[in-house]
Symmetry: C2
Subunit: 331 residues, 2 copies
Amino acid sequence: MTTPQFDVIAIGNAIVDVMAPAEDTQIAQLGLAKGGMTLVDADRAAELYAAMGPAREISGGSAANTLAGLAALGAKCGFIGQVADDQFGQVFRHDINAGGIAFDTPASTGGAPTAQCLIFVTPDGQRTMNTFLGASQYLPPEALDDTLIASAGVLYLEGYLWDPEEPRRAMRKAIAAARAAGRKVAFTLSDSFVIARHGDDFRTLIDAGEIDILFANEHELASLTGREDFHEGIAALEAKVPTLVVTRSEKGAHAVSGGEHAHVAAEPVARVVDTTGAGDLFAAGFLFGHVRGLPLGECLRLGAICAAEIISHYGARPEADLADLIAPVIG
Amino acid sequence: MTTPQFDVIAIGNAIVDVMAPAEDTQIAQLGLAKGGMTLVDADRAAELYAAMGPAREISGGSAANTLAGLAALGAKCGFIGQVADDQFGQVFRHDINAGGIAFDTPASTGGAPTAQCLIFVTPDGQRTMNTFLGASQYLPPEALDDTLIASAGVLYLEGYLWDPEEPRRAMRKAIAAARAAGRKVAFTLSDSFVIARHGDDFRTLIDAGEIDILFANEHELASLTGREDFHEGIAALEAKVPTLVVTRSEKGAHAVSGGEHAHVAAEPVARVVDTTGAGDLFAAGFLFGHVRGLPLGECLRLGAICAAEIISHYGARPEADLADLIAPVIG
């Protein structure tokens, strides 16, 4: 097995986030599931956008956010995802490339526009996401290069992208390519509603030993395992997943790897502005420690530091120099 | 003369700001004029964008920023400017409308894209702007409705838009319509480089008594009057302009109206993040006080409060509730 050329290759939604502050009353009036991610069609997206206050646009997408964090920390990364040849597609590609991440999936032409996620951020910092998948849902399995997948130490997959059929087939193909090359497969469960739709698929993958590193928050852990109790949920999965990482918002995070348990407290934040991307950046910090071979507790600590940075401002892409922030930990 | 239906109608660039942090060394390497606004063509815009780090997109445009502030404070506003029928045009229109501002100029089709301003923000908070005018420079004089102009107490014009020929003709037409209806004309000088190109036009307008309210910063005042000394610059203009407002960054601002002088200190800011829009929001606060008939010193104070809000975060559109912020002043 050759030394991997990339630390992490990720497959995920190629999305531009359109975010605006909102009151809880507006979330209720619009019939939104606060704190969750809902898929919307073009008409509903237009309706929600019309109801939204003045907004700002920042590149997003769960796995892409994680790569932005990983690259800022110093990892060598590549992204696979589908944009259209429109202005948001240009914005997404620019931001990925400007972060030093390889991204060669060609833009689609003449079809659906680049994906947008309409995010309402309430005063408590929680984000309520409404995703119009657009071009992102048409990522064809043929866009995958098995050689590229085999060239990365870790293949990272975004659960959100399990919804549309073509990317799901692409991700199944990628898992096979990674495993054939002896690489690790990391998977983030993304959202409880996604688990409600695709939990059987996820449990099948896990039972078959196809997931080496699993990221979940405590709600997703409960949805996937059917255990309300956090420790019972961990116990139900730890024998099946070589590395299990569960985030618990202000209660910190927990990881189990090869029988070893580790816990980290949440990193203090002066003011939680917008929790969009908290889990994505936690995964970035953890994975960076993992690919560098750091102890489990330090991987968690890097995750907590990166998550704290992202929730202190609008948007799910880092503003501060993450490498500076983690320097005291990695020495 | 009937009571105006709008407090302020503004004519300005319809621009989406694309902003990213940058180091001073990058500003130098790219040959940019730090702190200024440079007009760029499509090729140079593409070159600068490629050199730019991961960015965020927030609606901008000097006069549009001022209206966003005015509307947030409670004024009734309308905007006139040219966008194209592309995603940035939709973003610009959404943000203007979501702020409660009337905006009926139809999008152009098949021509230049919506204007973009590539803004490099250095660690000292200063912004270096590179504007690709795109559709904005083709605002046709025919897009102006004299009845609409006559329906506003104040017509507000952006100096930046004096560069391209068609909008300049449109603004001359608007000045005539406003004056014929007995309305006030407010003008912001925008930039020293604009004055270098069009100072003669501006001085002619002022000498003819066509500008009722003039906004400038101290550098623009010096460029326009040819007087390096601040007080000499004020003295050279105060007899020609009914209301003159000059901002001086951290030194506060000065206004003269009908022989009365007033000064305000800069409002304290915990950390200057990005000065983009500082002058625009100062104008918003001042004009709001002016249309409400407040004393000159209070108008300045409202300007200082709004400017302080905008420089405490990225982007030139308000994040905090400006009406709340000024409540202690207006009672």
